[in-house]
Amino acid sequence: MAVVSVTDLRKHYGRIEALRGVSLQVEPGQIFGLLGQNGAGKSTLIKILLGIVRKTDGDADLLGYPAGTTEVRKRVGYLPEDHQFPEYHTARSLLDIYGRLYGLSRDDRVKRIAEALDYVGLRKRMDTRIRTYSKGMKQRLGIAQAFFHDPEVIFLDEPTDGVDPVGRKEIRDLLLQLKKEGRTVFVNSHLLGEVEMISDRVAILHQGEMVRYGTVADLTRQEGRFVLGLAAGSAFPAEEVARLGFKAAPAGEHWEVVVGDHPEDIDKVLALLSEKGLKLRHLIEKKQTLEDVFVSMVESAEPGTDRRPVRVARPVAARRVDR
């Protein structure tokens, strides 16, 4: 049974369509990444699943129950984006109150609060007021309150916001640990690198529509794109390469060759160069990242709520091929 099952989900805020017929499923034990620009509808989707926001149309089930069912929330953890904890609490007293709301026994609360705060590195500060915490500490507290009660599924909305690189690494490790324990983690983020590193499946929302949905491997599937450079003064045999069935196009001083789904086909091109006595000086396989996929999606789609005034340079991740 899917942990999250959404079918043709729609949400209107007045005349604004926040979600336009989104459908997806999240299986147990996965880390699911939901990507999208600000205002794409990511938070709305989570809030509908948790009953914070009411859907306009469509179906949304969580753990087999209709979205918003109160009792199901016992089995769910949630870190909202831009959360504001009551600052008159300490980390311990806040989690104690949340633990009571989840129906945890006193012994369970004592044990799990200490463990969770220890895990996120706040144990030493658990008896000081939250108002004295840095943003990163509050974020870590937010993550602790999302998992301390042993939920089956955890929703994290921008979990690494305001967290330094070391903290991000710790959060990633924590999410992987949670996955290892069999929990399902649903992550909303616009930090694509983070999501790519840990997610099993990914969906990309754009202006309320789901534009891509699949495994990270599917989305970042290699196109067999290579950049080749020859010794100075040598002419690249573009026509012969085309005759082999591969696209070749100049890329600055080099040439970009796309061999398709089988990267090993680059060997045919290299053999051709060798036959023609051309000396290879540069060879790199261009790796498509989730970010490449995301940016290309956004650029190809119509401008949305967060339209960019200037086209952003597209970063390219590269991997040198040792030959």
């Binding site: 809030k47 948790l50 914070i52 909202p80 904890f85 009551p86 008159y88 109150i97 709301l101 129906g103």
Partner: protein, 461 residues
């Protein structure tokens, strides 16, 4: 239950996190301390008489041309010093000083106690609790003769300055117990107030003025301010999601927060009222359980106000608006209650007037309707029908905070004052029945909370 406790603890922490709660506790402590500083010392008849003549003497001394006349109480004897309210008394009142001109004027002035009858009247007002007061003018009292070296008549008067003397005797008093006997009030442990009053009046004044009139309103006002932030803080962007993502319904969350506010005020009121009650009991020996009725009454009064605050908070998410809306509604409810009472009294007076008119004029039509338009135009003292209708239309559906206030005053009064004193202070008048006061107010609370819940449930986030 665990969820309720959780929200309650949250509210408790929130309340403690502000400066208002410590200030409130300090104020409550100061109130209890101030009440503890008040004591009542039983006085003798001499003291009470001197207080009665003291004002008179002060007034006489304002005009130096009068020759500084003054009344002096002398030779007071009683038959029961330990229980003075059960005693018979004898005492003298002598007037010393004063010019002949002044005395002439005094004799012609009806209110001046220079004759036997006038002195009896004066004593009837100054010490009304004495029974069977008889006054005789003394031509040559033995004690005064001794002071003047055995002289009598004009010779004695020339030496002592005494103008005349009355001898009074009483048989019993109208006072049944110690609590109705005059006492000297002392505040701040050492400061004697310039008047005596009965222990009952003293305790009633303390409880009514200090606790009900001042303490209760301050408690309510501060409570409104403290609790007004509970719900807007919970509804803040980024805060509400954290609550409603937990396994608790929105209505439950709101009602728990509301009850949390009530419990906070119940505790504050209980501490203050019980503290004052205990201190008064220890200081005076009057342990009146009626006074403790203020705890539930004040809490219920606050429940009405807090329901308004809750609705305003859910609609606007603003603490300031919640406070302003509550205080405005508080004032309106008071005004409507007062206006309704005023119109009701006027209508009552009108009915009595109609009865008098009918008795005086046998030809008056017995079925004459006082509300009839033509009839009202004929009777200028009648209450206009529209005013009566308006007062009732506003009063009937709204919570009865004004009646609750009356209930509190009556609770205090009934615990302390005698039936006679209750009647004298118009505190024996019937109030609307309890079921009506509580029922209408509860219905109002239910409507306010129902609207707030509906809004919270139907809003996104």
């Amino acid at each position: 239950m665990s969820r309720f406790i959780a929200i309650l603890r949250d509210s408790y922490r929130e309340a403690l996190s502000t400066w208002v709660v410590p200030v409130m506790l300090v104020l409550a402590g100061l109130l209890v301390l101030f009440v503890a500083s008040v004591s009542f010392r039983q006085v003798g008849l001499q003291d009470e008489l001197e207080k009665g003549f003291g004002t008179f003497n002060w007034a006489l001394g304002l005009n130096p041309a009068n020759g500084k006349p003054r009344f002096v109480v002398e030779n007071v004897t009683g038959t029961n010093p330990t229980e003075p309210w059960k005693a018979d008394y004898e005492f003298d009142i002598a007037l010393y000083g004063g010019t002949e001109e002044f005395l002439k004027q005094a004799r012609t002035s009806a209110g001046f106690p220079v004759t036997r009858r006038r002195m009896e009247n004066f004593l009837g007002q100054a010490v009304p609790f004495l029974d069977n007061v008889k006054v005789e003018e003394v031509a040559d009292p033995p004690a005064a003769s001794a002071v003047a070296g055995g002289l009598a008549g004009p010779a004695r008067q020339a030496i002592t300055g005494e103008k005349f003397r009355f001898h009074a005797t009483t048989r019993g008093t109208k006072i049944a117990d110690r609590m109705s006997w005059p006492h000297q009030p002392t505040v701040l442990f050492v400061w004697d107030l310039p008047f005596n009053l009965s222990l009952r009046e003293g305790v009633y004044t303390l409880e009514k003025r200090l606790v009900n009139d001042a303490g209760a309103w301050i408690t309510l006002l501060v409570s409104v301010v403290i609790t007004a932030g509970f719900i807007p803080n919970m509804l803040r962007k980024g805060a509400l999601d954290l609550y409603i993502a937990k396994p608790i319904s929105r209505v439950g969350l709101l009602i728990y927060k509301y009850i949390g506010g009530l419990i906070f005020v119940l505790m504050l009121t209980a501490v203050t009222v019980t503290g004052v009650w205990a201190v008064i009991g220890l200081r005076t020996g009057i342990w009146t359980p009626h006074f403790l009725a203020l705890i539930p009454l004040l809490t219920f009064y606050f429940a009405v106000l807090y329901s308004i605050s809750t609705l305003a908070a859910v609609l606007t998410r603003s603490t300031l608006v919640a406070i302003l809306a509550t205080i405005t509604a508080w004032g309106l409810l008071f005004g409507i209650g007062w206006g309704h009472e005023y119109v009701a009294k006027a209508k009552d007076a009108e009915r009595k007037m109609m009865d008098t008119v009918r008795q005086a004029d046998p030809d008056a039509k017995p079925d004459e309707d006082p509300d009839d338009e033509a009839n009202r135009n004929r009777q200028p003292w009648q209450v206009p029908t529209w005013l009566d209708v308006l007062a009732r239309a506003l009063y009937n559906p709204l919570p009865r905070t004004y009646d609750l206030d009356d209930r509190m005053i009556q609770a205090i009064a009934h615990g302390v004052l005698t039936d006679f004193e209750l009647k004298q202070n118009s505190l024996d008048r019937p109030l609307p029945p309890w079921p009506e006061t509580i029922g209408v107010s509860l219905a109002f609370i239910a409507v306010m909370l129902g609207l707030a819940s509906w809004r919270l449930v139907t809003r996104d986030g």
